[in-house]
């Protein structure tokens, strides 16, 4: 027969309590059960581990040598497994998530805070990246969740939640366009725009929408970070177009933000995971908080 954990635990318990009967009590077992366990263990190992003698049990020299090693190993295993149970309950673990920069800066901080408040031992790994990278990160398994634009192609992902992100025009308070009641795509034509880099989903969305009415954007400046775009606008270099989710439009004073009233500027946003992948429990909890926060945001 093979050696089992039960047998090892039985052995160690007997060594500590120096008695089959007492050990049986500790292990919630009958004394004969223990006798059999030890007999089997000794048979399996081919060594006598305990000397059953008058009045009490003594460990053989061989058994004594064994005790520290077994104890160390068993303790390691127990720690590993009890940690794991914590992970299983969602009280521990690492939430690994990739998100568009706008969400990484606006939605996530609050959600992370809430999640950490509920389970202080949970840690977070946030990768902020443009849409194309987000899906790659999810597909490769480098992160478990992705928050990205809704234009993903394949059945490689499960869509866990969908919401909409209103794209807005950002302009100085003094700009004449502020007087319009409603801003449409047509209004964007010929306006000097500060846009994010080509390849970003936002840029593509804008170009596509303008192309639809036969135009291309009038580029005032091209930047990588939305923060830069906002600064440009503030300096009067032009106007920019950012999603509502972008934190940048809220921190900069003296700028005005107005939705662009066009279905093309209501960008779908999804939370995705790799298909067939189970989310770690802590991450599943985090997801729920995310969805709740998005619902709350859209109200």
């Amino acid at each position: 027969m093979d050696v089992s954990l039960r047998q090892i635990r039985a052995f160690l318990t007997i060594v500590h309590s120096k008695s089959f009967t007492r050990a049986a009590g500790v292990l919630n077992l009958s004394q004969p059960a223990l006798t059999v366990q030890i007999r089997n263990l000794e048979t399996a190992l081919g060594v006598k581990l305990l000397d059953r003698t008058k009045r009490s049990v003594e460990v053989t020299p061989v058994g004594l040598d064994l005790v520290p090693a077994l104890e160390r190993t068993l303790h390691e295993l127990d720690v590993t497994l009890s940690d794991l149970r914590e992970v299983g309950a969602g009280r521990r673990g690492t939430v690994r998530i990739a998100a568009l920069p706008s969400f990484a800066a606006s939605l996530l901080p609050g959600v992370i805070l809430a999640c950490r408040r509920a389970n202080p031992a949970v840690s977070f790994l946030v990768r902020d990246a443009i849409a194309a990278q987000v899906s790659t990160l999810v597909a490769s398994g480098e992160v478990d969740l992705g928050i990205t634009g809704g234009d993903l192609a394949e059945a490689e992902f499960d869509v866990l939640h969908t919401t909409l992100d209103q794209i807005c025009l950002v302009f100085p308070g003094s700009h004449p366009i502020g007087r319009k009641r409603r801003i449409t795509v047509e209004d964007l034509v010929d306006l000097p725009l500060v846009l994010t880099n080509p390849g970003t989903s936002l840029r593509e969305l804008i170009e596509r929408a303008l192309l639809k009415i036969g135009h291309t954007p009038t580029l005032a400046c091209e930047v990588t970070y939305m923060m830069s775009a906002v600064a440009m606008v503030r300096a009067g270099l032009g106007l920019t177009i950012l999603p509502t989710s972008a934190r940048e439009i809220r921190v900069e004073r003296g700028l005005r933000v107005r939705p662009i009233d066009d279905p093309d500027f209501l960008r779908p946003v999804v939370i995705i995971k790799k298909k067939g992948r189970t989310l770690p429990p802590a991450t599943a909890g985090f997801l729920d908080l995310c969805i709740a926060a998005m619902r709350h945001e859209r109200r």
Copy 2:
């Protein structure tokens, strides 16, 4: 249910082979058995460890974190247990033995050599000590075997073997006593003797034997080591009395050795162990060799 080693091994095997079916082959198990093992393991831990998806099995992030720790622990355990099996087979281990100096220097080296030839990984701990100390060492468990004089009092020990050690008179080749055909206790009276310290079993034996015929030894000199005694005799300081087992009587040239023809000078020698104690397998093998060597010696 509790986590078992089988389950952990099953999990790791599946992780490596990335397939239930293949892992089942490796483990000589049916595939459904593995399915059940993993299901039980996951239930016990409250975590999904494997994602069973199309065509192949993937480890969940949580499971992946777990693999190295489990592997390390399991490997440690395997090493510990396989070492132990070696010990159990007597191929490894430490033989701990206390012996009277005469035996430690004469009988033991050969036996140890033979034992080591049979099992090269066995190591030895030899304590050479006078009779009183030998029994103490055995009683305390500091050694497993003791070779000592036969005058031990208690039922605290098991006597594993008994032999007799002829006590001899050692004298210079030129000494007149060499002309006697037979040496008796009476011959010892008034001879200048080089004796070992009071408290040694040999000294007590000699004093007791002389006292029986109403005498006390004529002390030429008192020494601790038999080697010293022999050197004194060699220098003509007196005669000495040593057991046959003493190696010293063989190495010194120009000395003569004659048995003292008296039952009092046929000292019983025993091999003992603590009662109720199981000998480690390597030590049991060593004991057999000791007994064989003693039998051979007395022929």
